[in-house]
Every structure is written in structure tokens, then in C-alpha cells.
Symmetry: C2
Subunit: 268 residues, 2 copies
């Protein structure tokens, strides 16, 4: 990764001292009018990483309080709650125009450092056609302008051409940065939340599905190349859904898991 990657330049932070930073959010990661939720976490996570020794965000929970504003300044606050040998916990927030947009609770660790007995088990990636046999994600899939595609390239399973009439509320895809930057543990929280909602598979475009809360668990450092994503809606009731997902790297190694609460909103 070079300093000139979009991932670097669009998440750059300036220290203001006293646990505060500023950042200029880009609108190049927008879905419609608003920045993608995964992108919004990145500058906050960068601020947090300056407060701890450990390099890897191992658990990151974010509440989305209000939409973010692309091409506007944001103020970040972050605080180390508890430094630890195995994990260090922090909290932080991102404000724009005087109002809180995100509240995040995260822990950093070192994924190359082993604690405890060497028990290994994992989830294997599902069968998936290679990226060049998949379909490009486009804004027309969601009826919105997807500036996000200037930053992230997405290929969806060919079955997604029949979204709305599929049997399972599942979406399979390949994702990577559009400028060729390789994934890192710091960028995985973005990739965990960049695909269309998996409920579109069975129910079609049910509208905007804003995230109320997103938790990403980073499990291993990713190898260079495409990331494979599988997301599934597990439960939907009263207009609130639970979507669970996993991300594997180009070697088939599980690198992250996510679970989120999404809201189904009535159409205007």
C-alpha cells in the first residue's frame, strides 16, 4: 500500500491534540447522497490506532446515529479505555456539523501473536465462480448513484441477476479496492459493509436499509488480491433485520466476520 492510495488519502487524519482529530470525508465513497457506513469507520479507526501498540482492530462495533456528510470536515474523538497485553479497548466518535454521526467501541490486538493453546478451526468459503464470471455491481441495482464504485470494485454471483426471486437471502461477491491497493486488517471493516443488502436476493429492492449497528471481527491478516464475501439475512421482524457475513482472502483464509442490525424503512 502506498501513501497515495485512496484508502490512505480519503481517511487521512490531522491531530488536534487532547484526543481529537479532524478529517475531510470524501464523497467518492457515497451510496446515493451519503458516505458508505464502512468507509466512515476508517478515519476513526486510524485515530484509535495511534493510541495503542497493537496493529490490528480485532473487534469494531459502530452505532450509526446519523448519516455522514461527504466532502465535509469531521471531528473525531477517541479514548483508550483499557490498554492490555492481549487486547486494548477504545471508544470513539465522529461528529459533523456539531452532531454525533458514529459511536464506536473497538479493541486492537496483534493477530500474529498467539495466546493460549493452539486450537485451530475455521469456516471454509462457499463455492463461487471466479470474478471474471461474475456480474459487476452497478448503481441501477439499487436505484441510486454509486460513487462508491470509484473506490471499490465489486463482482456479484451471477445468480444475483435474479435478485428478488432467489430462494435464500444470501449475497456472494468479490470485492477489492478499485485502485489496486491490497486489503489490510485496517480496511476490512469497510469491506464488511460494502455489498448490497442480502435481503434483496429474496425480496428485491426493499429500499434503503440503513445500518443501526455493525460489529466486525477481524480474524486474520489478509493476503493480497480479491476478497470473497458472503452475507446472509438471518432474521427479519418488525422492520429490523440481522445480517451476518464472512470475508475470505484470495487464499481462502477467513479474515473477518460481521453482524449488523439493519432497518427496513417505509417507502416515501
Amino acid at each position: 500500500m502506498t501513501e497515495s492510495s485512496h484508502f490512505e488519502s480519503d481517511t487521512r487524519i490531522t491531530a488536534l491534540g487532547d484526543g481529537r482529530w479532524s478529517t475531510e470525508l470524501s464523497s467518492a465513497w457515497n451510496i446515493g447522497e451519503n458516505p458508505n457506513g464502512g468507509y466512515l469507520i476508517l478515519p476513526l479507526l486510524r485515530a484509535m490506532s495511534t493510541l495503542v501498540e497493537q496493529p490490528d482492530p480485532i473487534t469494531v462495533t459502530t452505532h450509526y446515529l446519523r448519516t455522514g456528510l461527504g466532502d465535509e470536515t469531521a471531528e473525531i474523538q477517541a479514548e483508550l479505555i483499557k490498554p492490555g497485553r492481549l487486547a486494548s479497548s477504545l471508544r470513539g466518535s465522529l461528529h459533523q456539523a456539531g452532531k454525533p454521526r458514529l459511536e464506536t467501541l473497538a479493541a486492537f490486538g496483534d493477530l500474529e501473536q498467539r495466546s493460549g493453546p493452539a486450537v485451530e478451526m475455521t469456516l471454509e468459503p462457499p463455492e463461487m465462480p471466479p470474478p471474471d464470471e461474475c456480474i459487476m455491481r452497478s448503481g441501477s441495482d439499487q436505484g441510486v448513484d454509486l460513487s462508491l464504485l470509484s473506490r471499490a470494485e465489486m463482482r456479484l454471483h451471477p445468480d444475483f441477476a435474479n435478485a428478488g426471486s432467489l430462494d435464500e437471502p444470501v449475497i456472494d461477491g468479490w470485492v477489492r479496492f478499485a485502485d489496486g491497493t491490497d486489503p489490510t486488517t485496517m480496511s476490512l471493516p469497510f469491506f464488511a459493509d460494502c455489498c448490497p443488502p442480502s435481503i434483496f436476493a429474496t425480496h428485491g429492492r426493499v429500499g434503503w436499509v440503513p445500518t443501526l449497528e455493525l460489529t466486525v471481527h477481524v480474524r486474520r491478516r489478509p493476503a493480497p488480491g480479491w476478497l470473497q464475501v458472503r452475507n446472509r439475512t438471518e432474521d427479519c421482524h418488525g422492520g429490523r433485520l440481522i445480517e451476518t457475513g464472512s470475508i475470505w482472502d484470495s487464499t481462502g483464509s477467513l479474515v473477518a466476520q460481521m453482524r449488523q442490525v439493519g432497518l427496513l424503512l417505509d417507502h416515501e
Copy 2:
């Protein structure tokens, strides 16, 4: 539920004003020397519930910073970050002996209030023998004293008698309050974290598996009676595991889901 239930009396809070409360933690919910992690959330959640209109904790993320101390006073802090019509987000912490023990980020909502289009899907409970054909959880399963059993009754799937040599890192159980108190949405975060670690099924007692972070999503209000729990270890690497679980009520309705990061520690 009466005021005299253990759930009520062992989680009672006293307002100190200015977003602070005190509580007397009980040691009757201990696993070994320390209070169960799910129990520790309950008084903090009660404090939070006084700050919002909505009755149901719909997402509750807790970082366990240090072990709690049974039979000692704790100080709770809670703050409403963002009131909302569909969900209100709060943060809070629990301190004992001057040190932070828990940091929690939660949102409350009204699970009887529908937002958005009426899309319904869910997870069905797995096949399970009735409670009276299951095995009682005992402290000898874990080699520790389980005061917790004075508060929560647990029956484990008969297969768990062969824990250590099972094929899948899964635990199935029935849980309820020992005093007959019916479950509520406020008590589900406890039930989400009261079973033995599911990795015991395949690997036997690998030692204490402290929780680093626990997120509970409450999905529906539970009917009276037993709760059915299924927990599975999905990934284990470098001494950190991901355990995912679901809880159904006595009518087979999915009432909560959980995911946590647990740590495997080297034996002394």
C-alpha cells in the same frame, strides 16, 4: 416477574444523580471466583433503561475490561448518546474498586412497534430433547464452583456427556431462572452468555475462556418458560475464538442472537 425475583433484587440500582448509579453485585451468579459476564451487564442495562422511552434493548455490545467482583459495590455511568424514534443509543460503564470493568454500547427500541415493510423471516430452533431428558449442568463440567446454578437452571443436550470428543463445536441447552421468573428482553443478554463454551464439545475443558467482547441482539419478546440455546464456535485462531449463538423461547420463536470474541488462555 415480581419485585422479589433474584433477577430484580440482584440487579437493583440506586440513582446517584448526574448519570451515575450504584449497585451491589451479588456473588450468587459466580463462575468460580468471578461473576458471570452476562449478569454483569444487567444492572448497567437497568440504568440505561431509565434514560430512554423504549423498553427493549435491541443491541448490546460489551467489552470486558477486567473481571467483576461479587458481593462488592459497583458504580455505573450511563449516557444517552442519541435519542431516536426507532432506536436510542447509549453508552455506559461499570467500575469497581476505582477501575473500569465493563464498557457497553447499546440501543433500545420497541420490539412491538413495526417500522418498514412487513418482511418476516427467521431461524428455526434445532431438534432438541425436552429438558427432562437433558443433563443438568454442574460445576464439575468445568472444574469450578458454579454459584451461578443458584440463579439459572441449565440442561444440556445428552451428547454433552461426551464433551471433548464430539464432532461439532456446538452446545445445545435449555436455560431459565432458577426461581421461576419468566424471561424478558432485559434478561436475555444474561441468557446469551450462561452456557459452557461450545469449544468444550470438540476440545474438552480447554480452561477458562474469558469473553473480550459480547454483542447480543434481542429480536422478539420471549414467551414464559424455558429458553432453548444453541451456541457454535465458528472460528478459532491464535487463541481467539468467535462463538455465535441463538436463543428461542418456549414457543420456538427466535428471541435473541449473540456473537462474542473469547480468549483461550494458557494453563497455569
